[in-house]
Amino acid sequence: MSRWVRFILAILLGIIAGLLYGWQFNPVKYVNTTPDSLGVDYKTDYVLMVSEVYTTEADLDLAARRLALLGGASPQESVNQAILFAESHGYTDADVSTMRKLLADLQLYRPAVGDAAP
């Protein structure tokens, strides 16, 4: 085997070792994530909490700002996704209904000019 072939093989071996180390043994760690990266089940529970709190606070602005943390196209979209997930994963009717109430109110919601996400 020529010296060049062995050199190339050594490089390939090094690449494999580097990938193995970077992906398997010491991957990039995300410790300060934001709520928009949460799994869909956690996002759904977050929406459920916002909906539960909304039933007593009745503050649509505050609910919308809380939902804005989840990213998404709009608060309505976030709640809608949560309802779809909840319905397909056996959430209780009461929980789904709580989220539906928030969704219904959000559909009539027009944020005041100058409102910003927290």
Binding site: R3, R6, F7, I8, L9, A10, I11, L12, L13, G14, I15, I16, A17, G18, L19, L20, Y21, G22, W23, P27, V28, Y30, V31, N32, T33, T34, P35, S37, L38, G39, V40, D41, Y42, T44, D45, Y46, L48, M49, V50, E52, V53, T55, T56, E57, R66, L69, F85, A86, H89, G90, Y91, T92, D95, P118
Partner: protein
């Protein structure tokens, strides 16, 4: 004449390859976590999540659900995390309702009876606990592991292009609850506290003059979550006992401004204590410093 350079070129190649591999793995195509858990949230987002849990608990009064949600944050000491956040919220002039909710949840957790709670029908969170680990970029065999727990346990190991799926009937997948010790008895509802002791303390280790309040029940046990109201000429403040658990569940304190007169009362009634101002103390060397008032309220 052939030059003998030895096998060093192999090591050079290996290092060169490793650098390329690491650069690719860390910079070009790092592992992406798209389905993160609340435990990995940034601390300020964790605080918001925790506050929302507490506010939701005030609405639904469902302690099992609140506990399950708090477990997602993986705090080492849930009770302390709640109490400290309540303190921070109050100290930072934050939402009093939020602080009250955090304190109430901390107290509720502290008073949870040491019995195993029934398995929740659906706590909202684990209705489906889905964990997806994805490493689908560039690697030749994408791996996707999905675990679902309702109503049966489904484990899917997807090594495209031939995914396999196994469904196992859910026989026992009930959450295990660690019973919490009972920390305090519940205060007798409706019984106002009476002032049992008012004492001036001189402690040179305290950095500022304080009004320290302790609330105890008839058995001498500390009573948490008692709202204390302090008035002075230009303002008013509310705080709660039990938010500094390291100092006792019936303990609360308030920082006085020297030369200001304060009146203190408990929100559930009882006599107001007026004329409280920072007392002057003298150290052994003649140095003067501000002292502290200790007020002990007892529930008859």
């Amino acid at each position: 004449m052939r030059e003998n350079r030895g096998p060093w070129y192999l090591l050079t190649g290996l290092l060169f390859g490793a650098v390329i591999g690491l650069a690719y793995a860390w910079l070009v195509q790092p592992v992406r976590y798209t389905n993160t858990k609340p435990a990995s949230l940034r601390p300020d987002f964790k605080d918001r999540y925790r506050a929302l849990i507490a506010l939701a608990y005030q609405t639904n009064d469902n302690l099992v659900r609140a506990k399950a949600r708090l477990e997602l944050l993986e705090d080492q000491d849930v009770y302390r995390a709640l109490a400290e956040q309540a303190q921070r919220t109050l100290a930072g002039g934050g939402n009093v309702e939020e602080a009250r909710a955090l304190g109430a949840l901390a107290v509720a957790l502290g008073q949870a009876p040491p019995t195993v709670e029934p398995a929740p029908q659906n706590t909202g969170i684990p209705a489906s606990t889905t964990a997806v680990i994805s490493a689908t970029q560039a690697i030749t065999t994408p791996i996707s592991i999905s675990i679902e727990a309702t109503p049966s346990l489904t484990i899917t190991l997807d090594t495209s292009p031939n995914p396999t799926s196994t469904t196992i009937p859910l026989v026992t997948l009930l959450p295990t609850f660690t019973p919490l010790p009972t920390r305090t008895p519940t205060p007798t509802p409706g019984s106002p506290f009476v002032l049992r002791n008012q004492e001036q303390l001189c402690d040179p280790n305290l950095e500022e003059p304080l009004i320290q309040v302790q609330t105890i029940d008839s058995a001498g046990q500390p009573v948490p979550a008692v709202e204390v109201i302090v008035n002075w000429e230009t303002g008013e403040d509310h705080f709660f006992t039990g938010l500094k658990p390291e100092l006792g569940l019936g303990y609360a304190d308030f920082s006085m401004t020297p030369l200001t007169n304060y009146t203190l009362r408990l929100a559930n009634g009882g006599q107001p204590i007026s004329g409280l101002s920072a007392p002057e103390c003298e150290a052994q060397g003649g140095e003067r410093y501000w002292g502290t008032w200790l007020l002990v309220f007892e529930q008859p």
